[in-house]
């Protein structure tokens, strides 16, 4: 990322509408997350990374692509921090700046099977690409 980290953090806060300072570090998000084991930066860490403006690590992290947007952390967060929204905002920044990073049209045919619903493709495109 070429923008300074401070600005990036600002942008994440703005897009997500989340104030990471509200976090009391209870870890309920990470306790709740079904993708926890796949993530390199865990949901609760994600919040403090934004707080500390450690953005470079975030945009490189696998977490962006492992979050399911299932909103379990959003629902259960006792402080209304909603880590899922932060993760999505970071993902937005990445796909907006880098374009199709995580899903390229070329790889799609091999991912398909006869039962696969359109909904899945549509959703994945929305999440993974600009």
């Amino acid at each position: 990322m070429n923008k300074p980290a401070k600005k990036q953090a600002e942008l994440i806060r703005e897009i997500s509408g989340v104030n990471p300072l509200k976090c009391m570090k209870c870890g309920k998000c990470s306790a709740t997350c079904p993708s926890y084991d796949e993530m390199d930066i865990k949901p609760h860490q994600f919040v403090s990374y934004v707080q500390n403006e450690n953005i470079e690590a975030l945009v490189q992290s696998k977490t962006l692509w492992k979050c399911l947007s299932c909103f379990a952390c959003v629902e259960r967060c006792p402080r209304d921090v909603r880590p899922g929204k932060l993760i999505d905002a970071a993902r937005q920044i990445v796909v907006r700046e880098r374009g199709a990073d995580y899903l390229s049209p070329d790889e799609i045919p091999e991912l398909l099977d006869p039962e696969l619903p359109q909904q899945l493709l549509v959703s994945a495109f929305r999440r993974y690409r600009r």
Partner: protein, 662 residues
């Protein structure tokens, strides 16, 4: 025309360094009504006060303005000085040229200009001041304590020991409160009942204390020193004088399916019942909603078996009206409803319980006779999980924003007691922070870890999932190990947030005592007046003011008692003379003012008036100056300007406005 003296204080250099005090004196002398002006180093000193007194006498002053520090600091001082010199104290006004001027401005010319204007406003006001006289009101030497838990009992005992009459009003059939439901108490682990019961007995036996159980406060009127309270004594259906407390009626009662309030619904009780064995008074009540006799007309077993003939199905609610000088609120708390926390499966599994329910399970008189067992199948648990901060510290409107304060300690207590009694049970506590300020408190918690091997894990639980085999899968964070834990447990205990007793809002409204967004009663000053409500004559005891444990509750109960005693010890109270007054010639009798009065101080009377020769009877507003606290809401609501506030009249304030904008 007033004869006004103006006194400008240097306050050492606090004022004089930034304000040209001589200039203020000079300018003040130009104002209408001013016949004397002088400055002095320290007006509040004895010498300064003597100067004021001398000027009042020599120049026959009718009003004075002191240009000095904030009236919140020395208004009383100068009023007293004026009074000693024969001037009505309410003819004194303060121009705040320190906090509002010299301390915040740097430029001397600017600060001086402002000081002159502030003095001018005060002079304009004094020109319209009238002498006021505080009223007197009597003090009824009796206190009311609302709530019969440990807070209420302690307050009542302390007041009674000082020689004043006290009445306790308790909603449930017995005094004792939450503390009577507890098994052991931290940090000493003595049995709760063993320390509480003697206090209950002492209160019941005290000749100065009268206890109304199964009763509620219905209506409060009056004011500090002279409250009138209606107490509803709910029909007990049992004659208190005849009942011997033998308990046969409870044994024989055929209706046995009502969840026991005392045991938090973990087992059932009969329709005629005393909440627990040590209840005071030891006289049962009939729960009419669940009584077969009351519901169907057919039964009457209790009356048949009662040797004393104490059962009285015809008993009716009774209203007792009493007068009190002081009221202490000690309404306590309850645990929150867990409807918003279904991820912890409280409603889905019997083996997910609250800490207060665990108290009952651990208690020898409880539903399991003190055996630690799963409520679903009666089996002994092997693996127990405690979850902290359930509903506390939540800013998402599902729970409470505050820390419930007692949970860390009682969880350590529970964990320790379980490990002590059942060493083969593993205990895991999931916490966010462990908060243990207090004497011997942290040591207590460390003992749980170091001596008893309780496993504390930093991280919140996300979900409790009941498994087909009846065990509970707990999914949690371990923040220090940075891993997600999935562990099976046999029982899960939720450290449920506490909240003020829901009835407190109703009571606060009756008392016009202020209450915060969490329904805790507000104290008059967070630091300096923590046991008084801002409403005079109302005192706060126990958790109704904020979360606290037993020692703190008892401390505060004593403090509230001292404040109440201080009030009861007075024979008379002086009332604030800055109250609203209605001009009966202007009053329309429209009732608008009464609608906004927070104290019910305004009533309407049909009064004979003489309006420039026309005599007629009119409906007019009358202010009870003992009730009026002088807020002025009525004066603005009044469409005709009939209502005005003494000491802050419309003309006085307008005169200030004019002086500032001149």
């Amino acid at each position: 025309m007033q004869r006004i003296g103006v006194f400008v204080c240097h306050c050492g250099s606090n004022i004089a360094a930034t304000v040209d005090v001589k200039k203020v004196v000079e300018m003040a002398l130009l104002e209408p009504g001013v016949v004397h002006a002088e400055d002095y180093q320290y007006m509040c000193s004895e010498a300064g006060q003597a100067k004021i007194a001398a000027a009042i006498r020599e120049k026959h002053l009718t009003g004075i303005v002191v240009c000095s520090c904030s009236p919140r600091m020395h208004e009383t001082t100068f009023r007293k000085a004026a009074e000693r010199a024969g001037l009505n104290p309410y003819m004194v006004e303060i121009a705040n040229i320190r906090e509002h001027c010299s301390w915040i401005h740097k430029d001397m010319e600017e600060a001086t200009k402002k000081a002159v204007i502030l003095a001018r406003a005060a002079i304009a006001k004094v020109n319209l001041n009238t002498p006021l006289k505080p009223g007197e009101s009597r003090v009824t030497k009796r206190a009311l304590v609302i709530g019969g838990g440990i807070a209420g009992i302690q307050t009542a005992l302390d007041i009674a020991d000082a020689g004043y009459e006290v009445d306790i009003v308790e909603k449930t059939p017995s005094i004792g409160g939450r503390m009577s439901q507890l098994d052991k108490t931290f940090p000493t682990l003595d049995c709760s009942a063993c320390i509480l019961t003697p206090k209950m007995v002492e209160a019941a036996a005290h000749e100065k204390i009268k206890i109304y159980t199964y009763s509620e406060v219905e209506k409060v009127s009056g004011f500090v020193g002279d409250f009138t309270v209606d107490i509803r004594k709910k029909a007990r259906s049992v004659d208190m004088d005849k009942c011997t407390g033998c308990g046969v009626c409870q044994e024989k009662c055929p209706s046995r399916k009502t969840p026991s309030e005392f045991n938090r619904g973990l087992n059932t009780r009969s329709a005629i019942y005393t909440p627990f064995a040590q209840a005071i008074p030891n006289v049962p009540v009939i729960d009419r909603e669940h009584c077969i006799k009351f519901q169907t007309g057919k039964c009457g077993v209790c009356a048949k078996v009662c040797q004393a003939g104490a059962i009285d199905y015809g008993q009716k609610d009774e209203i007792v009206t009493e007068k009190y000088g002081a009221i202490v609120v000690a309404t306590g708390f309850d645990t929150i409803k867990l409807d918003n926390y279904d991820e912890y499966a409280y409603s889905q599994s019997k083996d997910v319980i609250t800490s207060l329910e665990l108290e009952r399970i651990m208690n020898a008189a409880g539903p399991t006779k003190g055996h630690l067992e799963r409520l679903s199948d009666g089996k002994a648990p092997k693996e127990m999980v405690f979850i902290q901060c359930v509903g506390s510290r939540c800013s998402d409107n599902r729970g409470k924003s505050y820390c419930s304060k007692i949970c860390c300690m009682y969880t350590a207590k529970h964990a320790m007691l379980i490990r002590d009694k059942y060493p083969d049970v593993n205990v895991t506590v999931f916490y966010i922070d462990v908060r243990t300020p207090g004497k011997n408190f942290d040591e207590f918690y460390r003992r749980a870890v170091e001596q008893y091997g309780v496993n504390y894990i930093k991280g919140q639980v996300g979900k409790v999932a009941p498994q087909p085999d009846g065990r509970l899968l707990v999914q949690a964070s371990d923040l220090l190990d940075n891993r997600q834990i999935k562990m099976e447990a046999d029982m899960v205990v939720l450290a449920t947030a506490i909240e003020p007793n829901p009835d407190v809002r109703k009571i606060a409204t009756m008392l016009t005592a202020s209450i915060d967004t969490n329904n805790f009663l507000t104290e008059a000053h967070a630091k300096l007046r923590p046991v008084e409500s801002p409403t005079a004559g109302i005192f706060l005891s126990g958790v109704c003011q904020g979360p606290k444990d037993i020692p703190e509750t008892v401390e505060q109960a004593g403090a509230a008692a001292v404040k109440a005693i201080g009030l009861l010890a007075k024979d008379k109270l002086l009332t604030n003379p800055c109250t609203a007054q209605s001009d009966i010639l202007l009053c329309n009798g429209c009732s608008t003012c009464a609608n906004v009065c927070p104290y019910g101080a305004i009533t309407y009377e049909d009064k004979e008036v003489n309006d420039h020769g026309i005599r007629e009877t009119r409906r007019v507003a009358v202010v009870n100056s003992a009730l009026c606290q002088g807020c002025g809401a009525c004066t603005v609501a009044c469409p005709s300007g009939a209502m005005d506030l003494q000491g802050f009249s419309n003309r006085q304030i307008i005169a200030e406005v004019d002086a500032i904008c001149r």
